[in-house]
């Protein structure tokens, strides 16, 4: 079936007039009915090739969410250019499941509203300041002298509003914004100042601060396709962490974006754009937790080179660059765990003991010889340092990181009343002390999974430097998992992990969480299984997975919140 009215020009942005509302009610009714027919038979699980709903796939309702801090600043830069400034500092966003784009934490408290409102004022004022020629040229796109003033203001408000609200701004909305400008003018403000009031209103509106998705029929039980603009918005914040560009908006406006072929074309175009670096910074940085490296505090007494060589930044960069290469070169992303190359600057090369001379700031790609004892992300300084305490490496934290970030099998927190490992006077190697510690049966179940992984990494100290011995003790880097798989050292562990079917499934789960801004629920199991299947059949290439996630009904459809939901 084909439903042009939903996807057609103009309709997608306009939700206020009664006639269109009737259209939507009718259309949704048809959708709901057709859903009953289509469910289960549609290979795409709910969408026809034109991107219209043809089934009712299992999709949980989604919360409206605020742009997080990263998204907000990226978006502001796109809209106002680099000359826009503000003294406002937004509080960092909290996380759920390790991601700061989770809808659960993206509400808006009064202090945030206040900061966004004041930021809008300062940003707009600085963009229109006489000294900011670039900013003025960007916004003042028409002749506003004399009688041209009103039509020009109208034009600017409509086009800025379209970009900021990521959809068409209807004439009535423009008129209401224009009324602000006129009132300001009548009170004696200069045109730029008065126009600024309208622009501030656009940037303070929830239509800008939140990613708004509306239901054609509030509370309707079946899932429906997002409109083209909503889809454009999901897509650009997923792949770029910023607002849709003109090409994406244009595709949304003519109503083609929802078509699978066009959607795929856009995704591939976006992945080739430099803005796709956001996936490295915001997805990989949070999936692998390398962002947290900035908070690590290795003891300066025990590990003086950590600060003196500025290793924190270098380590984070290394991991980001390896991920970026796998993404850009369209290789299997599973190579991350055993990649035979890496990127280093002079400090990191010295830290790793790699021979040769390296640039102090620029990162160079190096092939890793076997004697380097480095291969894959588990041997990156970033992951090793992140999962240590200030004074020593941590078997448990390393094991837990692998389980939660790579295998999605995070152990529960330890039961109460169990002392952690003593850092005091030692009796035996860290490994020996650990083994004593977990002989307690209450602890054993989880530690049997975590510790063998951590043991395999014993050769790397709290900041990831290679060591032949743990103090005076010989290192035993062998580990055996409860199911019998065993390995000796980091390189064999990497090989074991790469073969583990939980690894690709886990990556899919993490990317899904990031793409949708919510943790998967029971209702998503089928969708995750399908994505994992297609990921595997496409050679575990990251780019293909990104395309498949964007094409999935979970990404392109939504379900209304039920009125009775509490």
């Amino acid at each position: 079936m084909h439903l042009t009215p939903l996807g057609g020009r103009g309709d997608v942005s306009e939700r206020s007039t009664a006639s269109r509302r009737r259209w939507r009610v009718w259309a949704a009714l048809v959708l709901a009915l057709s859903g009953c027919q289509g469910a289960g038979t549609d290979p795409d699980g709910g969408l026809d090739p034109n991107g219209n709903a043809s089934g009712d796939p299992s999709i949980p309702p989604q919360l409206i969410r605020r742009l997080n801090q990263t998204e907000y600043w990226n978006t502001i830069r796109e809209l106002l250019g680099p000359g826009a400034t503000t003294a406002q500092v937004l509080p960092a966003d909290d996380q759920v499941g390790g991601y700061d784009n989770n809808a659960q934490v993206l509400g808006i408290s009064p202090v945030l509203l206040e900061k966004y409102a004041l930021a809008a004022e300062e940003l707009v004022t600085s963009t229109l300041a006489p000294t900011n020629a670039q900013g003025r040229a960007r916004l003042l796109t028409c002749d506003f002298s004399g009688a041209n003033e009103e039509p020009c203001a109208r034009q600017i408000l409509a086009s800025f509003g379209r970009r900021a609200w990521r959809r068409l701004v209807v004439p009535e909305e423009v008129s209401r914004l224009l009324a602000l400008v006129k009132a300001s003018r009548s009170a004696g403000d200069a045109f730029e100042v008065a126009l600024g009031v309208g622009l501030q209103a656009i940037l303070t509106s929830p239509r800008f601060l939140f990613r708004v998705e509306l239901d054609p029929v509030p509370g309707a039980p079946s899932a429906h396709a997002l409109d083209d603009f909503e889809l454009a918005t999901r897509l650009s914040y997923f792949l770029w962490s910023t607002t849709p560009d003109e090409e994406l908006l244009a595709a949304a406006e003519i109503g083609t974006l929802r078509q699978a072929a066009e959607l795929e074309r856009q995704v591939r175009r976006m992945l080739a754009d430099p803005r796709a670096q956001a996936l490295v910074d915001n997805f990989a940085g949070q999936w692998l937790r390398t962002r947290q490296l900035a908070l690590a505090q290795p003891s300066p007494t025990l590990f003086p080179t950590y600060a003196s060589r500025q290793l924190a930044q270098a380590m984070a960069t290394e991991t980001a660059m390896v991920f970026a290469e796998l993404l850009q070169a369209d290789r299997s992303i599973l190579d991350l765990v055993d990649a035979d190359f890496t990127y280093v600057n002079a400090s990191l090369a010295a830290h790793y003991g790699l021979p040769g001379s390296f640039d102090p700031s620029r990162f160079t790609r190096v092939a890793l010889p076997p004697e380097s004892q480095r291969r894959g992300v588990l041997t990156h300084g970033s992951i090793l340092t992140l999962n240590a305490t200030p004074t020593r490496n941590s078997t448990v934290k390393r094991g837990k990181w692998v389980l939660s970030r790579l295998l999605c099998d995070e152990p529960p927190p330890p039961p109460p009343s169990v002392p952690q490992l003593s850092s005091g006077p030692t009796t035996g190697s860290l490994r020996q002390r650990m083994e004593q510690h977990v002989s307690n049966p209450v602890c054993a179940a989880c530690h049997q999974k975590m510790d063998p992984i951590g043991f395999a990494l014993e050769h790397y100290d709290a900041i990831g430097a290679w060591r032949a011995k743990d103090g005076e003790y010989t290192i035993d880097a062998r580990g055996t998992l409860p199911d019998g798989r065993s390995f000796d050292g980091a390189l064999e562990l990497a090989g074991t992990l790469k073969e583990d079917p939980a690894l690709p499934a886990c990556l899919v789960r993490h990317l899904f969480t990031y793409a949708l801004g919510r943790e998967p629920e029971a209702a998503d199991q089928e969708a995750l299984a399908q994505l994992t299947q297609s990921f595997q059949s496409r050679g575990h290439r990251m780019r293909e997975l990104l395309v498949q996630v964007a094409l999935s009904p979970s990404f392109r459809m939504r379900r209304a919140q039920q009125e009775a939901h509490q």
């Binding site: 909290d94 934490v105 808006i108 408290s109 206040e114 209401r176 509306l214 509030p218 007494t301």
Partner: protein, 448 residues
């Protein structure tokens, strides 16, 4: 040369004719505040000071109860202030034990001030005591409440927030004293031309008016959960609108804008200075201070403990140390050193509050200031016996100078609900309630 923010009271009064304009502008103030003129109750403040990872309890409890007790090692930084505070033992947070998240680290922190079960997926928490107080006291001040802390974001939401609005939304913390200063005194630059300020106020109000209408329209098209989010947005807009309308004069000297701190020690001091300044200027009457976060693993290289005949820095992480507390061991002594340092910061706050003289006593006399952690004994993650100090006289409603024991704190049985303490704290600052959270069914006895 003075920087723009270094304002003395005199400068304010000299200002730009603002003083003369005061009666007229006061008439623009929100009607609630206006209704109070003439019958304004004296200013009372409610403060909470949270620290993570519990306390080393064997060194926490005083040896005796009642008056004239001898403080243990961890309370010794408060010795000079003993007559200003109550040590409360045997209070606990039972509701956090019914959460669907880890209690010891997660729920005991985010539920510390809510006395409610904490849920993740979807996020659910009760309203925190500070926000209940703010709901009533906001009518008197520019800011309903201040949420301060040393860490912001970058971690799990339930590790990182003690202040929660009624809608299960965490109240983000200000972590930079310089930014907080700017926020407190925004738009109060007396060197600014009055006409310019008035024009800005006009424009701001028109923007806020617009978005209020806009969001109300939008709200009607949203699902129920989204409507709640939009309600939050509107609350923020209304609060900001009131603030923009208010033109009451500052009751104080703002002083110099603080610097951006270089380390956590300076950060804590400057943030607490700002808190006291905000009370002094009557910009708010409610504040929370969240030091660190749950499972905080910060190292304290600036502290050291004796080890044999040398002194060693506390370089192991706080959380790790809190689980390695064999009595007398090096780790335990390091843990205690951190606990004591935290109490010292609280003592600093109290001393500053005591130094501020108000018409009816000191600022401390007119406040209730709670210090505590979400757990007591750290290995047990004990949320049934919390380390708590309540300072201040609450305007004469409390009788400090005692150690009160509400139940045997050495037994792992549920303590008397801390929620009852919250009922009492709320009553003290003029919030008339008999209930708080899940198990606060009346005030805590024996405080007066």
């Amino acid at each position: 040369m003075r920087r723009p923010w270094e304002l003395s009271r005199r400068t304010f009064l000299r200002g730009t004719g603002t003083l003369l304009a005061l009666p007229m502008l006061e008439a623009m103030a929100p009607s609630v505040a206006r209704a109070q003129v003439g019958s304004v109750p004296p200013a009372r403040r409610l403060v909470t000071f949270f620290v993570p990872n519990g306390m080393y309890m064997p060194e926490w409890y005083p040896a005796a109860s009642g008056e004239g007790y001898t403080p243990g090692p961890l309370l010794s930084p408060l010795a000079a202030l003993q007559s200003e505070l109550l040590v409360l033992s045997g209070l606990g947070n039972k509701p956090c034990n019914t959460s669907n998240v880890d209690v010891g680290h997660v729920a005991s922190t985010s539920g510390f001030l809510t006395s409610s079960a904490v849920w993740d997926g979807p996020l659910r928490n009760g309203i925190s005591v500070d926000q209940v107080a703010a709901g009533q006291l906001k009518q008197y001040t520019r800011f309903p409440s201040l949420e301060l802390g040393t860490k912001s974001g970058t971690s799990y939401v339930l590790h990182n927030n003690i202040s929660w609005s009624g809608n299960s939304t965490p109240m983000p913390k200000e972590t930079r004293p310089d930014i907080l200063f700017d926020r407190l005194f925004e738009g109060m630059n007396p060197n600014e031309n009055a006409q310019v300020a008035e024009a800005r106020r006009r424009r701001r109000l028109s923007v806020l008016d617009y978005v209020k209408e806009d969001s109300t329209q939008l709200q009607q098209k949203l699902g129920r959960e989204d409507q709640l989010r939009m309600e939050e947005y509107l609350t923020g807009v209304r609060e900001l609108e009131l603030r923009v309308q208010q033109t009451r004069m500052l009751q104080c000297s703002a002083g110099a804008r603080p610097v951006q701190p270089v380390d956590v020690r300076q950060q804590v001091r400057l943030l607490l200075d700002m808190m006291v300044l905000a009370f002094q200027c009557d910009l708010t009457r409610v504040a929370t201070f969240m030091y660190g976060e749950a499972v905080d693993e910060s190292s304290y290289d600036f502290l050291s403990v004796p080890d044999g005949n040398r002194s060693v820095p506390v370089s192991q992480g706080h959380h790790t140390l809190s689980h390695d507390i064999s009595p007398g061991g090096l780790s335990q002594r390091m843990y205690s050193a951190i606990c004591k340092w935290e109490v010292e910061q609280f003592a600093y706050l109290l001393s500053k509050m005591k130094a501020v003289q108000e018409p009816d006593g000191t600022l401390l006399d007119n406040s209730v200031v709670l210090f505590g952690s979400g757990i007591g004994e750290s290995n047990l993650h004990d949320s049934w016996n919390l380390p708590l100090v309540l300072a201040g006289r609450g305007g004469g409603k409390l009788r400090p100078g005692r150690h009160l024991i509400y139940k045997d704190y050495n037994s792992l049985t549920p303590g008397v609900p801390i929620a009852k303490l919250f009922v009492s704290m709320l009553n003290t600052v003029g919030v008339n309630t008999t209930k708080f959270g899940v198990d606060g069914d009346g005030p805590l006895p024996n405080l007066t």
